[in-house]
């Protein structure tokens, strides 16, 4: 019985090869477009998120500037100066802060052998690396002992390492910063960083313990402070608390927005995620509409098929076919076209994704792939379209009046 069902199904499809292949290719093309759009969309979103997080993850950065409001008898226009101790205390006092860090920054000559560069040197605490996603690819990152002993050690960005050392192994060697030797203890793992602040991107920087920086260069006041709220959604509230606490310590009004220039990266990250979500929904909708056009094609062709086969339906009804027999016959035909065309489109998309030279585009659009989400969304869209486009003609077929059908 099932064999006969499928034999008739495929015979019906084969009877109109051109029509079948046109409808198949309509659905196939739609699926192809949906899969590629979704695969690229999600890859671009993912990759941008990775690049975006190159600068760090869910943090707030604040630059001390000068006051614009008088505070406790002090006039406006004073420079705000923050010490590492003040910042550290604030980090401990304000609830909800996961990590608090700060940095001293300046461009300084760095030298190894005959190579000489003028790059950004950052004096930082241990927590800084975690906030800014500075991960040692070789060797290690700075640790508490480095801080406590004011060691002359450094972690180098991967690009500055290449510029200074070329193919040579850097870890364990000594470089000169402002003519003073530092041991390279680690080289930063390559990361994609599309945003930055004060100084060069991390791949060009040298990171040294802030205690060493302060002792050698004599800096007392930090260039910027940076903290990670435990819950990114609470960043606004925590930022206000940090402002109040630092204001008390350093003498500026918490309402003086310009005294501390704050850049809330969590907010940017949020709008960035929303943008990419919207972007993917947009692509999905475009894809779904492309597929919908294919589905409309199937539905209208099937309506014509039902019209053409009215007599056949009449004969079947006369010899005792029930409505569900007729319904299934046409429904199965539409569904077969949609699923088969969808399968073909899926396959083509998978082949194209395979043929793409991923290495060349990886840094910009990521690795487009058919992940489970893409697969499930496509299959759901296909099934919906198959059912909708199949049901209407099938219901029309099943409601045929046998007497009128036989008269044709």
């Amino acid at each position: 019985m099932i064999f006969i069902f499928f034999r008739n199904l495929f015979r019906d499809l084969r009877r109109q090869p051109l029509r079948t292949s046109m409808t198949l290719s309509g659905v196939g093309w739609g699926t192809f477009a949906v899969v590629l759009l979704l695969a690229f969309g999600s890859a671009v979103g993912r990759q941008n998120m990775i690049s975006f997080r190159g600068v760090g993850q869910g943090f707030v950065i604040a630059f001390p500037a000068s006051t614009t409001l008088p505070y406790q008898g002090l006039p406006k226009g004073r420079l705000v100066r923050l010490t590492p101790e003040q910042v550290t205390l604030t980090g401990r006092k304000v609830p909800g802060i996961k990590r608090m860090a700060f940095e001293f920054t300046a461009s300084r000559p760095i030298r190894y052998g005959r190579e000489d560069v003028l790059n950004t040197v950052r004096g930082v605490p241990v927590e800084y690396g975690d906030i800014r996603n500075i991960i040692a690819g070789k060797g290690r990152y700075l640790n508490d002992t480095d801080m406590a002993l004011k060691r002359r050690v450094c972690v180098l960005g991967n690009t500055v390492t290449e510029n200074l050392f070329h193919k040579e192994e850097a870890v364990g060697r000594a470089i000169l910063i402002e003519g003073i030797p530092y041991t390279v203890v680690g080289v930063m793992k390559k990361k994609i960083q599309t945003s930055n602040f004060s100084g060069q991107p991390d791949e060009h920087c040298a990171f040294i313990p802030w205690t060493t920086y302060s002792a050698i260069f004599g800096d007392k006041y930090i260039g910027s402070l940076i903290f990670q709220p435990g819950n990114p959604a609470a960043s606004k509230r925590i930022t206000r608390l940090v402002r109040e606490d630092l204001g008390n310590r350093a003498g500026f009004s918490p309402d003086d927005k310009d005294a501390l220039f704050v850049w809330d990266w969590t907010e940017v990250e949020r709008s960035f995620s929303i943008f990419f979500l919207a972007f993917n929904i947009f692509l999905g909708v475009i894809g779904a509409f492309t597929l919908l056009v294919g589905g409309v094609g199937v539905a209208s062709i099937m309506l014509v098929v039902v019209e053409e086969r009215t007599k056949e339906i009449g004969i079947k009804l006369a010899v005792g076919a029930k409505r569900r027999h007729i319904l299934w016959q046409f429904f199965a035909e539409s569904l077969t076209i949609v699923l088969f065309g969808g399968g073909l489109g899926f396959l083509c998309a998978a082949l194209v994704l395979r043929a793409i030279p991923v290495e060349k585009i990886k840094d910009y659009v990521g690795i487009p792939e058919i992940n489970p989400a893409v697969g499930i969304v496509t299959i759901l869209i296909l099934l919906t379209i198959g059912i909708v486009s199949g049901l209407m003609p099938a219901r029309k077929a099943a409601s045929t009046n046998p007497i009128e059908a036989l008269r044709k």
Binding site: M1, R11, K316, A318, V319, A321, R323, L406
Partner: protein, 219 residues
């Protein structure tokens, strides 16, 4: 076999209504061979459609083998057609893309008969109508008489008690028509009830009783 009482059939076309059948009462015994005659528009086909459960009467009662079929749903009527009634049409109404074998098998696909039983029955019927060697031919490869024999074999697929034929010889030459009528006579001798609509008095002569219709009434 059939008890019809006061059957009316009204077709509504917009504002105008047309009485296709008026107060038709009819009784048919099992094994009868009956012709229905009458001019065009007299209601022959409407009557045949109602008897054949393709259509339902507007009012009146219709008992088929002691079962009231006037109030059945469309799918229930399909089941009645499938098991109790075999149709033979003037223009054969075979599926054009299907083989002789598949055309005869068709009614059995709708009542869940097993593959083995279907095969046996198709061969048995094709032997009876003398078309075993034509089982893989399509209707377009058969003569009119052969097509009508396929249609008769199909009508007999589920071994119905009643055969309804609408001008079964209308598209055939007279010699072939006689052959087909020979088949109907044989079927009647086997105990089947046969109802046949015809214009042709020569064809009607094969039956035992003739019902004449005029303007929707039996006269």
């Amino acid at each position: 076999m059939i008890e019809m009482e006061n059957i009316n059939k009204v077709y509504k076309m917009g504002e105008v209504s047309l009485d296709a059948l008026k107060e038709v009462s009819l009784s048919i015994e099992p094994g009868e061979f009956i012709s229905i005659m009458g001019p065009s528009g007299s209601g022959k086909s409407t009557l045949l459609n109602i008897i054949g459960c393709l259509d339902t009467p507007t009012s009146g009662s219709y008992f088929l083998e002691e079962k009231n079929v006037a109030g059945l749903s469309l799918d229930q009527l399909s089941a009645v057609r499938n098991r109790k009634i075999g149709f033979v049409f003037q223009n054969f109404n075979l599926l054009p893309y299907a083989t002789t074998y598949e055309n005869v098998e068709l009614p059995m696909l709708f009542n869940g008969k097993s593959g083995k039983k279907r095969r046996q029955r198709v061969i048995e019927l094709l032997e009876m109508v003398g078309l075993v060697n034509r089982q893989l031919h399509r209707p377009s490869e058969l003569s009119g008489g052969e097509q009508q024999r396929v249609a008769i074999a199909r009508a007999l697929a589920n071994d119905p008690a009643m055969i309804l034929a609408d001008e079964p010889t209308g598209n055939l030459d007279s010699k072939t028509g006689v052959e087909i009528m020979g088949l109907f006579v044989r079927l009647q001798q086997q105990g089947r009830t046969i109802l046949m609509v015809t214009h042709d008095t020569n064809i009607a002569a094969y039956s035992q009783r003739t019902i004449n219709l005029l303007d929707g009434r039996i006269i």
